[in-house]
Amino acid sequence: MQNAPEKRLHKLLHSRSFWVCALLLLPFATDALLGHGWVRILDFAMLYIMLALGLNIVIGYAGLLDLGYIAFFAVGAYCYALTGSPHLATAFPLSIEGGVHWPFWVVLPFAALLAGGFGILLGAPTLRLRGDYLAIVTLGFGEIIRIFLNNLNAPVNLTNGPQGISRIDPVSIANLHLNVTQPLFGMEIPSVHLYFYLFLSFTWLVILASKRLEKSRIGRAWMAIREDEIAAAAMGINTRNLKLLAFAMGAAFGGASGALFAGFQGFVSPESFSLMESIMILCMVVLGGMGNIAGVILGGVLLAILPEMLRHSVIPLQQGLFGKIIVDPESLRMLLFGGALIVMMLYRPAGLLPSRVRRRELGSDEMAEKP
């Protein structure tokens, strides 16, 4: 039996309005308690969650291990970087005066489509590969995109090479530019807060889309392919098309996040799209709970925020204890990260919040589903 306050708490935690309010207040609370920089970290966490949810479609739903996912993020980011900055004018001075400066909301669907197209480009030659082999090819694909971005500054300076592209137009909604503090509802709302709300709405859209896809004819077909590709084909599922669709859907979410990232940062360069980032996103999915939306969100939040907390605590701690810095936070981060992965694989292989299917797969719920 639950007593009254406990029941009330339970009800509160399950009410939508509570969560909406909490999330709306989150940037203000964070700003007041921890400072501006942390709101920015929250913004990045939101981007990571979107990416992790996109990758979850490919790997969690359809079971296709993709180690080059960040490439689609890069495609989306460069898509907006090129169309929303003066850079193209320097590359082609005669044809485009001052850059094209397409509005963000025009480029966004285009970025998603283009990334989706790249998803199919990656998917098509890898259809016959599974598991490790697929992982290696996708890893190579991710690196190819990054290397292209690094080197496409000659003979025509398309990407500006390692220097990256800067002065990208900020995202604006109607006439409201999100890169400056805006007076709204009688309050001064800083840029990072505005972006937080923007990313929050997009994350909500991605969650909604993931949920609906999961419980649909398409989502079931993906699950079937993941469980047994031969049986799926024999049941009339066009495995080729559905795998390509999974790659394309995941990539499109990545591309859209990439465009948001470019608008938010105002600057993109190839180093944001390294293999390490792909691995990070994969870890968010795996640690959180592959195939389970709540798990993936948790994984995204943890892996985006914990390293920052570490960075902010390790230096002062070491200074205080030893008077100098012995282990730099970056290597400590990798160490803890590796350790956490090993511990997870040993004790919670299905993730922190596993999906019911993964739980069954790894046998940690013997008969639990039996009515």
Partner: protein, 253 residues
């Protein structure tokens, strides 16, 4: 009317000739049995008519269309559904989900439908759900149980339900009674008769002689990839070539 017609089907695995010049035809509405010693090529033949393997030679005609090299999902769409000798359910999904996946080929909703959840998609989804429940009731399997937690006999019946969900014209069953006890086999026999009475043609691989005798209208016998006999179960049983194939040589029954 002939539903399935195989013309001189051959299949080579490297040097091994798993099937050679197998021709047979199955009439609409009959139960056609395929028997033969282990390694005779029965499963290989099933794999060819369901598109998992390509025949090395020959072709087959199903429901008026010719097939030589084709893909499994097209044959499922054309109306051939199957079960597998070594059960291939979607083991970690529930019985209900397994059967719902079987409806894939007869439904249409795409990504847009899934995302927008329009009236048509929702209606289709309800229909899929209702049909799946109906089929599960038909084979008597609890909907919410995870496939791998079902008993062996139940798993075999679930595979049949999943195949039926594709609305097949021809249901190909690869040793459906394998591993079943006598009671389970008896209820399987009743189920198969019921399916046939519902208008679905059955193509059945089976080692259980009693089941073959009691169920099949006609039987073909394969041995070393060749068809050595065909006819009513009684006639085939007394065919000296068949007795030879099963008892005369050294290979295992």
């Amino acid at each position: 009317m002939t539903l399935l017609q195989l013309s001189r089907i051959g299949k080579q695995f490297g040097g091994l000739c798993a099937l050679s010049e197998v021709s047979l035809h199955i009439q609409k509405g009959e139960i056609y049995g395929l028997i033969g010693p282990n390694g005779a090529g029965k499963t290989t033949l099933f794999n060819i008519i369901t598109g998992l393997y390509q025949a090395s030679s020959g072709e087959f005609q199903f429901n008026g269309n010719n097939y030589h090299a084709t893909q499994p999902h097209l044959l499922a769409k054309a109306g051939i559904a199957r079960t597998f000798q070594n059960i291939r359910l979607f083991a970690n999904l529930t019985a209900l989900e397994n059967v719902m996946i079987g409806r894939h080929v007869r439904t249409r909703a795409g990504v847009l439908g899934a995302l927008l959840r329009d009236k048509k998609t929702l209606a289709e989804e309800r229909a899929i759900n209702a049909r799946a429940h109906e089929l599960l009731k038909y084979v008597d399997i609890p909907a919410r149980t995870v496939a791998k937690h079902l008993s062996y006999g139940e798993q075999r019946r679930l595979e049949i339900a999943r195949a039926l969900a594709t609305d097949p014209l021809l249901l190909a069953l690869d040793e459906p009674a394998a591993g079943m006890n006598a009671t389970e086999t008896a209820s399987l026999k009743a189920l198969l008769q019921q399916i046939r009475d519902g208008g679905i043609t059955l193509f059945l691989i089976e080692h259980d002689v009693k089941l073959i005798l009691g169920l099949c209208d006609r039987v073909a016998v394969l041995d070393y990839g060749k068809k050595i006999a065909e006819g009513t179960p009684e006639a085939v049983r007394n065919d000296p070539a068949v007795i030879d194939a099963y008892l005369g040589h050294a290979h295992e029954p």
